[in-house]
């Protein structure tokens, strides 16, 4: 149920984002979604790709420092209060969200959000218990392919 997310360290300078994206594009690896967190000095690029192990190898060989993290994708109703409902459930279970970002594609009336939890396994359990839909890797790929 968990997704593998690649994180890259980048300096916060013009053009720094191009090189890693080109490196994985050259290998024919498609990026499903990405998010960028930054300070004035540096940024952390987070990527979800189809072939994460190959992408990791390619990036590391090219000299980037790459970190692998498990994240959780959750279906959220794309209407006012949709996200609030999920957050309330997580809050109620005492689950801490390290960060989150939206998946670039939607599915019908649902948006997909990517969550980074301290404890992803327990988060998945709580979400499933509450009847929410946790999107796994294959399903995510199929959304992209559709």
């Amino acid at each position: 149920m968990k997704l593998q997310q690649l994180s890259l360290f980048l300096e916060n300078r013009p053009g720094r984002l191009d090189a890693p994206l080109e490196a994985i594009a050259a290998e024919g690896i498609n990026i499903l979604t990405l998010s960028l967190a930054d300070t004035a000095q540096f940024g952390i690029l987070r990527l979800i790709v189809r072939e994460w192990d190959k992408a990791k190898r390619v990036l590391e060989q090219a000299g980037w420092v790459v970190n692998l993290t498990e994240v959780v994708a959750v279906d959220v109703l794309d209407r006012p209060g949709g996200l609030a409902t999920v957050l309330k459930i997580l809050d109620g279970a005492g689950l801490n969200i390290e960060y989150m970002y939206a998946y670039s594609l939607r599915r019908g009336d649902k948006a997909i959000l990517i969550f980074r939890f301290e404890d992803p396994d327990r988060a998945i359990q709580v979400l499933l218990d509450q009847g929410l839909h946790v999107v796994d890797g294959d399903e995510l790929m199929s959304v992209a392919a559709a």
Binding site: Q5, S7, F9, E11, Q41, F42, R46, V65, N67, Y99
Partner: protein, 454 residues
């Protein structure tokens, strides 16, 4: 031959346009001065036998007072280095019983521990006398009020200058360093004519005055004695222009006494060395042979009168030039140029001595930092700023921003602990710091302090 004692009660002629604090000592003819130096050197060699470090070295080389027949015999004596002092930490260099100490100061060292310097009551009297000499040479009169914006503490600057000013009979305001707005309020309330601080702090005061909507040139200060960090002629012009004052340079280092080793007179053609208390050599740092007069070399200082912690041929690592031709001011002493550089890689940042090895030590304390780092020192405004660039490594990289910021803060805290300075930590991409074959260049100093005297 009888030797005149040059430091009894000084009798400055205050009616003169440029008085001399201790005319007997400061205008001693060369021959008489050398006779005095020789007598004091011979006595010193006898006295330092109480220091185990020197006793062992002298025993090994069969050196004693009898070995010193002329000043040229100084060259038979061994050198003393900062490392020697560290190895004798904390007070291994004492030449008097501990109960005879009147005060202990300290300077920053590479291990984060200060190097202690001890003084007897006699040392403190001489220190005040030496500070009085350069203060008067640079315009101080008993009727003046002086604001001391140097740190008061282990650092020798605050107390050294404080007692020198009192010795002259002038008024001291011990404002101490920091709280710039209050410094300006004190100036407006008490009208001091004289300012004592680091040259960079003088510029900070000027900036702060402008921020308060005041013209710094309208402040009551008429002249200042600046020291404690290297500075340039350009900086002197800037200070003089911004504050509308005359800026005088002085030199000293805590290992031999503190401020008071030398200072400028009104002619400002170099700093007069107090040669009745210090024997100063200017040597090629590689060959340790004297350089020709006027050429740059490392200053090596022997303390002729220090009681608590005498130093034999202390290697200052400061590069300067010596000039022996007479000065129009009437003083007969040798003058030294501004310090134009260091023989080692020591940096002076906001008055704190910092070695790149300290930054390295701080990085080693944080697991996962690479051996690749670069220290960038700049002076964007009036104060020094340090950025330490550290290459990212898988061990310290996290997808979480809070953890990454915690790593930067942790490195910064270690640097503060080890080196005593606040540094900005910039994480950079792997292999982005230039690699060097052989000795790596760890420091990029863009302050432009190493330029030669103009």
């Amino acid at each position: 031959m009888p030797v005149p004692n040059p430091s009894p009660d000084p009798s400055p002629d205050w009616s003169s346009e440029h008085p001399i604090w201790n005319p007997t000592a400061e205008t001693l003819p060369r021959a008489a001065r050398e006779a005095l130096q020789l007598e004091r050197l011979r006595a010193l060699v006898g006295r330092v036998a109480r220091v185990p470090f020197y006793r062992d070295l002298f025993a090994h080389r069969e050196i004693g007072p009898h070995s010193i027949r002329s000043l040229a015999d100084l060259r038979r004596l061994p050198f003393t280095t900062k490392d020697d002092m560290r190895r004798q930490h904390p007070l291994g260099f004492l030449a008097v019983p501990r109960r005879d100490l009147a005060r202990i100061h300290g300077s920053s060292g590479t291990t984060g521990k200060p190097t202690f310097v001890a003084y007897t009551a006699g040392d403190l009297r001489i220190w005040s006398e030496l500070c009085a000499r350069f203060l008067v040479a640079g315009g101080l009169r008993p009727e003046h009020t002086t604001q001391v914006a140097f740190g008061y503490g282990l650092f020798t600057g605050g107390f050294g200058l404080h007692y020198g000013i009192e010795r002259v009979g002038a008024t001291v305001i011990p404002a101490a360093a920091g709280n710039t707005r209050r410094q300006i309020e004190i100036m407006r309330d008490l009208d001091p004519e004289v300012l004592i601080c680091t040259p960079s702090y003088a510029l900070t005061i000027a900036d702060a005055a402008r921020e308060l909507g005041m013209d710094p040139r309208a402040l009551p200060i008429r002249f200042g004695h600046f020291g404690g960090e290297p500075w340039t002629e350009d900086m002197r012009r800037e200070i003089e222009d911004q504050l509308d004052i005359a800026a005088f340079n002085n030199y000293g280092l805590s290992e031999v006494i503190g401020p008071g080793v030398s200072g400028e007179c009104a002619a400002r053609t170099g700093m007069h060395l107090q040669e009745d208390h210090f024997l100063v050599e200017c040597l090629d740092p590689e060959t340790l042979e004297p350089v020709p007069e006027g050429e740059p070399g490392e200053l090596v200082i022997t303390t002729l009168t220090r009681e608590a912690m005498p130093m034999i041929r202390y290697r200052t690592r400061d590069i300067a030039r010596l000039y022996r031709e007479p000065c129009p001011c009437g003083r007969t002493t040798t003058r030294m140029s501004r310090v134009a550089g260091r023989t080692d890689d020591m940096l002076i940042i906001r008055g704190v001595n910092v070695f790149p090895s300290q930054i390295e030590e701080a990085l080693l304390r944080v697991e996962g930092t690479t051996p690749h780092y670069l220290i960038e020192v700049s002076r964007p405004g009036t104060l020094d700023e340090v950025h330490v660039k550290v290459e990212i490594h898988p061990e310290i990289f996290s997808d979480r921003m809070d953890r990454m910021q915690a790593v930067c803060e942790r490195i910064s805290r270690e640097i503060q602990t080890v080196a005593g300075i606040r540094a900005h930590v910039d994480l950079v991409e792997p292999r982005s710091i230039e690699r060097f074959v052989g000795k790596a260049r760890r420091v990029l100093d863009t302050r432009g302090l190493s330029e030669r005297d103009s």
